[in-house]
Amino acid sequence: MIEESVRRGEKPAQRPVVAGFVSADEPVGPRAARPPSGLFDAVERGLPFETTVHDELRSCRAEVEIESFDLWYGAKQALFGITMSIPNGAVTALIGPSGCGKSTLLRSVNRMNDLILSVRCGGEMRLSGDSIYSKDTDVIELRKRIGMVFQKPNPFPMSIFENVVYPLRVDGVRDRHTLDEVCEKSLRGAGLWEEVKDRLKESGLSLSGGQQQRLCIARAIAGDPEMLLLDEPCSALDPIATGRIEDLIGELKGRYTILIVTHNMQQASRTSDYTAFMYLGRLVEFGPTGNIFLNPRLRETEDYVTGRFG
């Protein structure tokens, strides 16, 4: 509580300084046209506000449509009226400070939040037009349409081969030929085939961290999903492994719609086509990555992506 009030107390004091700095040194140019909108204040006070969506997004075909989506953990609301369309076949990055609800939103897409008993949600979400949250949605079928990769690599305690074909195994596929084929295709897709093709029988846990994460990606694409959810997939990896995963995201783009949560601004700007900036459970600004990073409409977004805040 004390921290909260201190932060609230600091912000009005900081903002005029920043504003003064901008207006003094850069009297002309696009930045001068963006005064602080007072949006954070409004959000903190709980006042209604409008998400800023760039025009480029209006023409895109949406893979996932989210409409006024709310989510509560028990009595605490975590997502407030999120409305966004995640474009088909592109990489969309979710950025924002810790605790802003990026991961919660990502996990809402394949209903992983169902595993937490206290979660309630409202609003609507559709995957290619099919409702995600309606009563007669089969969660298992839904999850089979969406692959997911987690923050920490989580290969199962079984062989590399079995790890990859796990989505097929749970479907009851037993045909050896099919399994072999899918295993190779998925491992190639995840750029891991050359490294592990001779030791498919070894435990998935015997791989290095970066290899484990690519194994998880192979597992996520083995079930031939429409969409991939990546929840900070590189946060537990070293820079080289991170680079490989980022390259891989580039290769997977187009084949799958990708939604990625990241804390790393460079990663978001390198890998994604579209970026959504979230703050305290609200979607603040959503637009093409280039615009968000170089020419955001909102002063708050600019402050965040340039590291002046957050």
């Binding site: 595993l115 999850r143 997911m148 305690p157 435990s203 015997s206």
Partner: protein, 567 residues
């Protein structure tokens, strides 16, 4: 200077000291058991002692101790020995020494052991040809060979000749004896069983159709006819047994005790004999190993104080395994529901507390419950439904291997549930999420991810349950463990496994030997050997379980067996 406690040194000492104390107690117990249990079967020299009061005895020294002699005890000691005695007692700080000699020859003297004070010894020798004879009845015999008799006539008189004749003949006599036992057990057992079956068949008809009904009469005639056949068969077997007995009765060993009494022992009565004082180390080792072999593979004799404990080993292992077969699936399923399916709330908490409390219920209470519920209610119900013709003799309606195993399964259930729950809780959330995200259902996730991952922990619970169950005695006294079981629960007769039979158990055997035996001095070393054996068996069972667990754990840690062979 920094205070001592700031360094934490004191805690190192405290924790290290606690560990050292635990180790000391455990090692002390193990050393004690191994020391006493391991030495029991080593052949001791036979001493012949002549005491000051003129009596003579011969036997093995089993132990010695110091004691404070009463003044009145020393009155009978001759004057010249008295000074020597007092000097010895003074030297020993007022204590005199005495030895317990196993003198055997119970049939002649009415005692197995005799205390001999050191000061009362007039003369002590180790007669070269003193024989230790283990007999089928009356316990051990100590004596010197006098003659080897065939058909009542001596064929050898010198000790060496007698011994040679004995060694020549003993094996074949024992073979005949074993053959006789086999005939009695198998052939006569078969005949008795057929007679019993015919009787039960008749009784069944009587219950179903009523006495004097035509079916009953036909059955009765049938029974009588088969009884006549069986009686003839019985007589034939009996004759073969008699022939074997007659042949065996021809050979006898005549011995003379230290007191000069003569005794003739039929060779068939002799289980093992050896001239203890003539044996070299190798021969002693032979006797030692042979005794262990007999101990592990034979049935008990002489109110369990002699012979082997094979039925008890078998009963213990069978009971423990059956218990594990019941308790592990039940415990794991219950824990799965509690941890994976049940919605956390007050009811689940109460259930969990109840399970933990169940672990603290005295084991005898489980025994009483097992007797009342399993034996009387369920067993009695089974008897009434399926074994009506045998009543009033109970079949399942009394203590038995199955009921004992179930009782112990109930007793060890909390251990398995708690250990399994902890193992399930330790499965990382990320594993489950990964599985769910692949579109796996809850059960698929449990079966393919959670259970394999929790298996080492479940094995730990199983190990604890086995260790606790195998060593438990109190409840068994009520639900089926007996002092002497006539038959093993597994044999060659349909349905081969007779889980309703009462059984012997090593833990109960220890209690019986140590506290219920008439010949407690002779039984005492057997208590140690039985303890050693029980600890050994639990060790083996645990070792197997630990090996399985290590294998599973290694696989989880990412080193599959194949991977190791590659590397």
């Amino acid at each position: 200077m920094t205070p001592l406690f700031a360094h934490g040194e004191t805690m190192v000492w405290l924790t290290g000291g606690a560990l050292a104390l635990c180790l000391l107690m455990i090692v002390g117990l193990v050393v004690l058991v191994i020391g006493f249990g391991g030495g029991t079967f080593w052949p001791a020299p036979v001493v012949r002692v002549e005491t000051l009061d003129g009596s003579v005895c011969m036997g093995e020294v089993t132990r010695d101790e110091g004691y404070r002699p009463e003044r009145s005890l020393l009155e009978g000691v001759p004057a010249d020995a008295l000074d020597r005695t007092w000097a010895a007692i003074r030297e020993g700080g007022g204590e005199a020494k005495r030895r317990l000699v196993r003198t055997g020859n119970f049939d002649l003297e009415g005692t197995h052991f005799r205390w001999i004070a050191d000061y009362a010894v007039k003369d002590e020798t180790r007669p070269e040809w003193a024989l230790v004879i283990e007999r089928l009845s009356w316990g051990r015999f100590y004596g010197e060979p006098k003659a080897f008799l065939v058909d009542g006539k001596p064929v050898a008189e010198a000790p060496a000749d007698v011994w040679r004749a004995f060694e020549e003949r003993h094996a074949e006599v024992r073979d005949r004896y074993e053959e006789r036992r086999r005939l009695e057990r198998e052939e006569i057992g078969d005949i008795n069983r057929k007679i019993e079956e015919a009787r039960l068949e008749l009784r069944r008809t009587e219950i179903r159709r009523g006495k004097d009904s035509p079916e009953w009469k036909r059955q009765q005639a049938e029974t009588e006819r088969s009884a006549a056949e069986l009686n003839a068969a019985f007589r034939a077997v009996r004759e073969r047994i008699d022939a074997l007995n007659r042949e065996n009765a021809r050979y006898e060993l005549a011995l003379v005790t230290a007191k000069g009494a003569e005794k003739t022992i039929p060779l068939a009565e002799v289980v093992r004999a050896y001239p203890s004082n003539r044996l070299g180390f190798g021969e002693k080792l032979g006797v030692y190993v042979a005794r262990w072999g007999e101990y592990i593979w034979d049935e008990p004799r002489e109110a369990n104080s002699e012979g082997g404990v094979f039925p008890a080993i078998f009963g213990t292992v069978a009971m423990t395994l059956i218990m594990a077969v019941f308790v592990v699936p039940f415990g794991v399923l219950a824990a799965l529901y509690l941890r994976e399916y049940a919605r956390a709330g007050p009811i689940v908490s109460v259930v969990r507390i109840a399970i933990n409390n169940l672990a603290g219920v005295p084991s005898i209470v489980f025994g009483v419950f097992g007797l009342g519920f399993f034996c009387y209610i369920i067993g009695g119900g089974i008897d009434g439904l399926f074994y009506g013709e045998r009543l009033p003799n109970p079949t399942f309606g009394t203590g038995g291997l199955l009921w004992a195993s179930l009782t112990l399964a109930l007793l060890t259930l909390p251990v398995v549930i708690v250990a399994t729950e902890e193992a399930l809780a330790a499965v990382p959330r990320s594993m489950r999420e990964g599985s769910f995200a692949c579109g796996a259902s809850k059960w698929q996730t449990i079966r393919r991810i959670v259970l394999p991952r929790a298996m080492p922990g479940i094995m730990t619970g199983t190990i604890l349950a086995i260790a606790r169950g195998a060593g438990e005695v109190a409840p068994l006294m009520l639900v089926g463990a007996v002092k002497l079981a006539p038959e093993l629960p597994v044999d060659g007769h349909f349905p081969f496994v007779h889980a309703e039979r009462s059984f012997m158990h090593l833990g109960f055997h220890i209690y019986d030997l140590g506290f219920q035996s008439q010949n407690s001095e002779a039984a005492k070393p057997m208590v140690y050997t039985t303890t050693l054996l029980l600890i050994g068996i639990i060790l083996v069972l645990n070792f197997v379980a630990v090996a399985v667990r290590t294998r599973l754990r290694r696989r989880l840690e990412g080193v599959l067996p194949q991977a190791r062979t590659h590397a």
